[in-house]
Amino acid sequence: MARFVIFSLRRAWQGFWRNALMSLAATATMVLMLLLLAGFWIINTGLLAGLEYTESKVNVIAYLTDTITDSQLLDLTDRVEAMPEVETVNHVNREEALQAFRDRRGAQNEEDLTQFLASNPFHASLEIALVDASLYSTVRNRLVGEPVVERVINQRDLVDSLLTVTGFLQTAGAIVLIVIGVIVLFIIVNTIRLAVVARAEEIEIMRLVGASDGFIRWPFVFEGALVGLLGAAFALGILAVASDQLGRFMFDFFRVLPLQLGTLTRDVTTLVLATGVGLGVVGSWVSVRTYLIR
């Protein structure tokens, strides 16, 4: 068994270098495909993280009557916080609301018109972050019943469309990933098949002298794995070099991010390595099959 493995590994190594041009072509294809896959994965992750962040920002805003007393406010805050659907509750008083409006105007270089008002037109409010955006209606219904709540802002449509978009992107992302995977598989199988065909004579001799299937197949499978491993290493190297730029782009583009770069790096590394080696192995396995004993 050990001899078989050593034999196969040695032959895989020899085979790789004996046909260096073909092997490097296969590796280059692998690198390109893995970069495409990794790029798509990163963008998809960023997009989803961004959406998740936006989703978490969707608050139920309950505007309070101006006559609310401190004890009423405290009591309401406590009860809202106790709801299982609620993540956090933030009280915004009338002055803060006015200030926030002025800040926004200022940021847009608009003239502040509120200074001409006799009194503060803003209501105090509770900004409620939900555990899950889809729980919106439950929370809203309960707040509407409160006497000190003047109005609950109807964000229903926004929440719904956001959920639709998120769901669509998740499904579409998965489909595109699968399609890319299949295309990569075809290209890799084709490239490896060329390498196998280039050695058809050797395989024929192996069959004629009585080599068993394993001795014919495994050197090619290891060679495919080597192509996958090298391709993955190159792809990861390129990603590592580009990671600073990539990180800045992600931040600029998605604005966020509660994106955990450690997790993303780990996921991409696993994805690229597993896909590379997996495709190499499957590609070789399929390519060499036609040459085995019928």
Binding site: R3, E201, I205, M206, R207, L208, V209, G210, D213, I293
Partner: protein, 280 residues
């Protein structure tokens, strides 16, 4: 390896049986019986003509495209025989050889090689039965980037032979075919005859029961062809059964061995001491 073939002959016997031109056996402490010893041992204890290496019974082969390549072929080749297989191109010689190495399966009938019915042989056993056959082709089928030595060793390496057994076995068959001096050369540096002798060494290295030679002299000039035939005859004298497909009428007629003639997939003639062409 079957135990009955592993008996080493006495040293004196070995010396007596050394062939002209063959190098003396190297002084070795290896106590395992060498391939040559086994070849010689079999030459002494065998062949047993009552035991058939190959039996074809009522064999027909029809290809999926409807072409019938062999019809009702009955053959028995006893151990130690030297048989010529003749016939025009397309008569079914190549198909017959493919059936013997189980590259193709008979549509009907039985092909029994060394006591095993190839049709009932499990797929996993196919490589093992192929190691009992050494096959030699017109175009040599050597690997151009490997040396003579490596080409022969390749047959052992790809069948999982331990490294320590490869070296002595290869050295011995190369000495048997007279290529010890050329061991490090590439096929492209050899003459056609030397290339074919390399292929024969590779066919022998598994210590086969049967050598199948498919037009082994087809690419060689008459003089070199005779050298190859002499080598095959010598191997036959060592006890290996030889089946040789050929178009070389001179060789067949001169040697007066058993001749099996195929035409349109049928055996039209099977006679001992026969000639290439019909004599009547």
């Amino acid at each position: 390896m079957p135990a009955d073939r592993a008996s080493a002959p006495a040293a004196g016997d070995r010396a007596l049986r050394r062939l002209p031109g063959e190098q003396p056996p190297p002084a070795t402490t290896d106590i395992r019986p060498s391939l040559r010893d086994r070849l010689l041992g079999r030459a002494r204890a065998e062949p047993r003509a009552d035991r058939a290496v190959l039996v074809l019974h009522d064999v027909s082969k029809r290809f999926p495209n409807g072409k019938v390549a062999l019809r009702d072929v009955d053959l028995t080749i006893p151990e130690g025989d030297f048989v010529f297989l003749v016939g025009p191109s397309g008569a079914g010689k190549s198909t017959l050889i493919k059936l013997l190495i189980r590259d193709e399966m008979a549509t009907r009938g039985e092909v029994v090689l060394d006591g095993q019915d190839l049709a009932r042989l499990p797929r996993r056993q196919v490589p093992k039965i192929r190691r009992k056959i050494g096959i030699v082709f017109q175009d040599f089928k050597l690997l151009p980037k490997k040396s003579v030595w490596e080409n022969v060793a390749f047959a052992l390496e790809v069948t999982g032979t331990p490294g320590r057994r490869v070296r002595p076995a290869v050295d011995r068959v190369l000495s048997l075919v007279g290529l010890t001096a050329q061991a490090r050369q590439l096929p492209s540096q050899l003459s056609g005859g030397e290339q074919q002798r390399t292929a024969i060494a590779r066919a022998l290295v598994h210590d086969p029961r049967l050598i199948i030679a498919d037009e082994p002299t087809g690419n060689l000039d008459p003089l070199i062809s005779w050298e190859i035939i002499q080598l095959l005859l010598r191997i036959n004298e060592l006890g290996v059964t030889v089946l040789m497909a050929t178009h070389n009428a001179d060789v067949v007629t001169a040697l007066r061995k058993r001749v099996i003639a195929l035409e349109e997939g049928r055996v039209i003639r099977d006679e001992v001491g026969g000639t290439y062409h019909r004599t009547d």
